[in-house]
């Protein structure tokens, strides 16, 4: 019964087609996630620095950074000396 229940996504696939747009969006997200993780490396970055390293707009960089912070993939380290930008790093 448990095996049957844990396979319901397969049965659903026969009824409900996943759009190409969704698949493309997932690919884009995974590529961006990789870029963000690589940009951080072992160091810390603020949002403008992350945007510059990844080629994302600052708005997008903030969206991804805050989403990753929410999921626990990033953590806040400090506020800069001018009290303008927070720095973030990859959470181990």
């Amino acid at each position: 019964m448990q095996d049957q229940k844990s396979q319901t996504f397969k049965a659903k696939r026969e009824q409900h087609e996943v759009s190409q747009q969704l698949k493309d969006e997932l690919k884009k997200f995974n590529a961006t996630k990789k870029k963000v993780v690589e940009a951080f490396g072992e160091g810390e970055l603020n949002i403008p620095e992350l945007a510059e390293k990844t080629g994302l707009s600052r708005e997008e960089a903030l969206y991804y950074a805050m989403t990753f912070l929410k999921f626990g993939w990033l953590k806040t380290t400090r506020l800069d000396d001018m009290d303008e930008y927070y720095y973030y790093k990859i959470s181990k």
């Binding site: 659903k12 409900h16 903030l62 009290d83």
Partner: protein
């Protein structure tokens, strides 16, 4: 795929699980009547659950709401249906109504879900989080937020890629992609409409650049930035993550404005703006906060003192209507306004602008009543048949209204209104039973 309707009997159907709906449900249930509380969202609690604090006491909003939610949730006379849409309500005779409901599937067996969030962790899909007004992402398998009630996962099937990761990760095997919507046919003796209000869509005022300029947000987004369950780590600009130090509030955005079709005062915008400004002074002690207003309407108990407190904290007040807002290359905003005190046109630069958006009617319930016409007033709120002496009476006998369904009001007034509606409903049931 839908199933045959299951038939259920209750004394009262309450439409809307915000604070007014919850309060009305508890009142009626405490008097021994059976209540069904139907909420279209995934959680009850409404907008109040998303607020940071309440005015003028600055009490934590969630701390006031969650005990009420908990009381409703465990009350033996209250049945709560979330993710539920009411499709029709028909008055049969003086004693009862027939209502049709669809409880939409979550693709999760609610009673088995422990809210462990392992499905959320496993899900690879990230989409904008509607409960954080798109400021961060959420997974396609998700719990709306930590204090959601019920704290049960949901699969957002429109964004799900059917990878099965959530189903494999679930320790209680409660995810079921074959789960279907469930139809219900209710017999109820009375109905309370507590569908609340909608926020004015600021994109309708194009000269304010909301939705175009990155550092212009509405007041509900600021509520989220100030709340403990906030989307960001601190109050920062959505355009670039910078800590703002010159913040402007634009009052009467979409209220007291004939040009956008909403000429009435929203009653809460002045006070929530004063509240947020005070909270910002706490969160960002070095920031300048300026409130641009037509007139400050601090009419309630303790409100004038709250206004005086805001002034004494150093919040700037400028009497003037904003003409337009333009965005600079660095994301800062130029506000052009008429300074009423000097009678001159002026410009001022800010790095974050908050639009204090008004209250507009939620007309979702207007199409539910079939042949019985649901009448509206001149401002598209439901008609109050006896505004002075029985403000919760609708034009349909046996249907009552609670909270901001009938017009703008603050939280204490919404709770009082819910008390009135619940007592009217009880009296109606008792009278028609004789």
């Amino acid at each position: 795929m839908t199933t045959q309707p299951e038939k259920l009997n209750f004394d009262v159907l309450i439409i809307g699980g915000g604070i007014a709906g919850i309060e009305a449900a508890i009142n009626i249930a405490n008097n021994g009547f059976k209540v069904i509380l139907a909420e279209k969202d995934l959680t009850i609690g409404g907008k109040m659950l998303l607020l940071s604090k309440v005015f003028p006491t600055l009490d934590c909003s969630a701390c006031i709401t969650t005990p009420k939610i908990s009381e409703a949730d465990r009350h033996p006379n209250i049945t709560i249906f979330t993710n539920t849409e009411i499709t029709s309500i028909e008055k049969q005779d003086a004693t009862y109504f027939k209502a049709n409901l669809v409880k939409h599937t979550r693709f999760v067996e609610e009673e088995d879900c422990t809210g462990c969030q392992l499905c959320e962790e496993a899900c690879p899909v990230v989409v904008p989080d509607q409960y954080q007004y798109g400021m961060v992402g959420r997974k396609a398998a998700y719990i709306p937020f930590n204090i959601a009630s019920p704290r049960v996962a949901t699969i957002d099937i429109d964004n799900c890629i059917l990878c099965g990761a959530c189903e494999k990760a679930c320790p209680t095997h409660c995810i079921n992609f074959m789960q279907a919507d469930k139809n219900y046919r209710l017999i109820v003796k009375s109905v309370i409409v507590a569908t609340g209000f909608k926020l004015f869509d600021a994109t309708k005022i194009q000269r304010y650049q909301y939705g175009t300029a990155k550092n212009i947000i509405n007041a509900m987004q600021m509520e989220r930035l100030l709340a403990p369950t906030r989307p960001y780590n601190h109050v920062i600009r959505p355009g670039d993550g910078r800590v703002p130090d010159k913040i402007a509030y634009v009052l009467c955005t979409g209220s007291r404005d004939f040009t956008v079709g909403n000429p009435i005062c929203s009653q809460i915008c002045c006070m929530y703006s004063l509240k947020q400004a005070q909270l910002l002074m706490g969160a960002l002690p070095m920031a300048d906060v300026t409130i641009y207003y037509i007139s400050i309407r601090s009419f309630g108990k303790g409100f004038e003192e709250f206004y005086e407190q805001a002034k004494s904290m150093g919040i700037n007040f400028v009497k003037g209507k904003i003409g337009n807002i333009t965005e600079k290359e660095n994301g800062n905003l130029i506000l052009r306004y008429e300074d009423v005190a000097s009678g001159r046109l002026k410009e001022s630069e800010h790095d974050l602008v908050v639009l204090s958006v008004g209250v507009v009617p939620n007309e979702d319930a207007s199409s539910l009543f079939g042949d019985a016409e649901w009448k509206q007033d001149a401002f598209h709120f439901p008609l109050q048949k006896d505004l002075l002496f029985n403000p919760s009476l609708s034009n349909i006998n046996g249907i009552f209204m609670a909270g901001t369904t009938t017009g703008p009001m603050d939280i204490p007034d919404a709770i009082l209104s819910a008390g009135a509606a619940s007592m009217e409903a009880i009296q109606y049931i008792q009278k028609t039973a004789l």
